[in-house]
């Protein structure tokens, strides 16, 4: 009888028999992962709609002609401005991991420093996007209005601009939310909330979100500006 009981106890000590997290991560971090998975489905839905509409079109506007300006450069410079935007976002992802790394060492002032750089990167990206949207709007592009011709010279439908403003807008909204979250977390760092708590796990959670925003941009960049 006693041997049987101990055998049952033996079986129940595996990670999947309850009583502890089989994933060995904190609850909030796991739920951030599942939120990001759902968000990945949302962005995929938007980008796949873009792909389906593009594949259903005989011709499509040429991104090198649409996106060929930057502040101070009036045309003839494809990819330059979006290159700067991509660089800013990758840089801010790096400063975010550096904040996480400093958090592991519980180095409060370093966490604060890298969070500030991440927030600055976020604002810089949003400013670039604001400039690009304004520039395209001045050229006559908006939801429901497409001044750009197709590659073959025919008049384009508004699919291109509708999808561009919807997808980059939705991404920009994510960046904006990320900046707000980063600021909240940064204030908590300054207030010493995580120092009292004994760990900087919140930096990791907000970091996951921030990297996801960078990840989405990698795909938006490829499908809107390169392909």
């Amino acid at each position: 009888m006693t041997t049987n009981t101990s055998e049952i106890d033996e079986i129940k000590s595996t990670p999947w028999n309850g009583g502890r997290s089989p994933f060995n991560v904190e609850y909030g971090k796991m739920m951030m992962w599942f939120f990001l998975l759902s968000d990945a489905f949302t962005f995929s839905g938007l980008l796949i709609a873009y792909g389906a509409l593009r594949f259903s079109s005989v011709s499509w506007p040429n991104p090198d002609e649409v996106f060929q300006s930057a502040p101070g450069i009036h045309g003839g410079a494809p990819l330059v401005f979006v290159g700067i935007m991509t660089f800013i976002l990758i840089m801010s992802s790096v400063t975010m991991v550096l904040a996480v790394e400093a958090g592991h060492r519980k180095a409060k002032s370093e966490v604060s420093k890298w969070m500030i750089w991440t927030i600055i990167g976020g604002f810089a990206f949003l400013s670039c996007q604001a400039w690009e949207w304004t520039h395209l709007h001045h050229e006559g592009a908006w939801w429901g209005a497409n001044p750009f011709l197709n590659k073959d010279g025919s008049v384009a439908s508004t699919n291109f601009t509708n999808l561009f403003f919807t997808i980059t807008g939705f991404h920009g909204f994510h960046v904006f939310s990320g900046v707000v979250l980063n600021i909240i977390i940064w204030i908590n760092v300054l207030a010493g909330t995580y120092e009292r708590r004994g760990h900087y796990d919140m930096i990791e959670k907000v970091g996951l979100y921030w990297h996801f925003v960078d990840l989405v941009w990698v795909f938006v960049f490829t499908f809107f500006y390169l392909v």
Partner: protein, 113 residues
């Protein structure tokens, strides 16, 4: 319980990114982006690569960048296998949806022509 705590401490020791590794990943991401620019601004305009071939390379490089961001910056590579699978396996639905909708889009174009 103490074994559990030991396990978490052990996990952190091996999983955390050092500053050197972080900058290593940064240079990889920057390098891949530079290659994409080189293809778009030099190779395709000069006719070294055709547009369809360039597009396939862009998508391959994009997935590579996505791998580096998710595996190292988001730290997924160092999580438990169960968590890795529960995040990666559902993405099969996205691949299915891509194939389905691009095929469908192509079909619409042939109806229009």
């Amino acid at each position: 319980m103490s074994a559990d705590q030991q396990n978490i401490a052990h996990h952190d020791e091996h999983g955390s990114m050092t500053k050197k590794k972080i900058w290593g990943v940064f240079w990889v991401l920057l390098g891949i982006t530079a290659i994409e620019f080189f293809i778009a601004l030099v190779l395709i305009p000069r006719g070294v690569l055709s547009h369809p071939v360039g597009n396939i390379i862009y998508i391959g490089l994009t997935l590579l960048k996505a791998f580096y961001i998710v595996a190292y910056f988001m730290h997924l590579k160092f999580e438990k296998l169960g968590l890795i699978y529960s995040i990666i396996v559902p993405l099969i639905f996205i691949i299915f949806f891509i194939v389905w909708m691009l095929y469908e889009g192509n079909f619409w174009m042939h109806i229009r022509l």
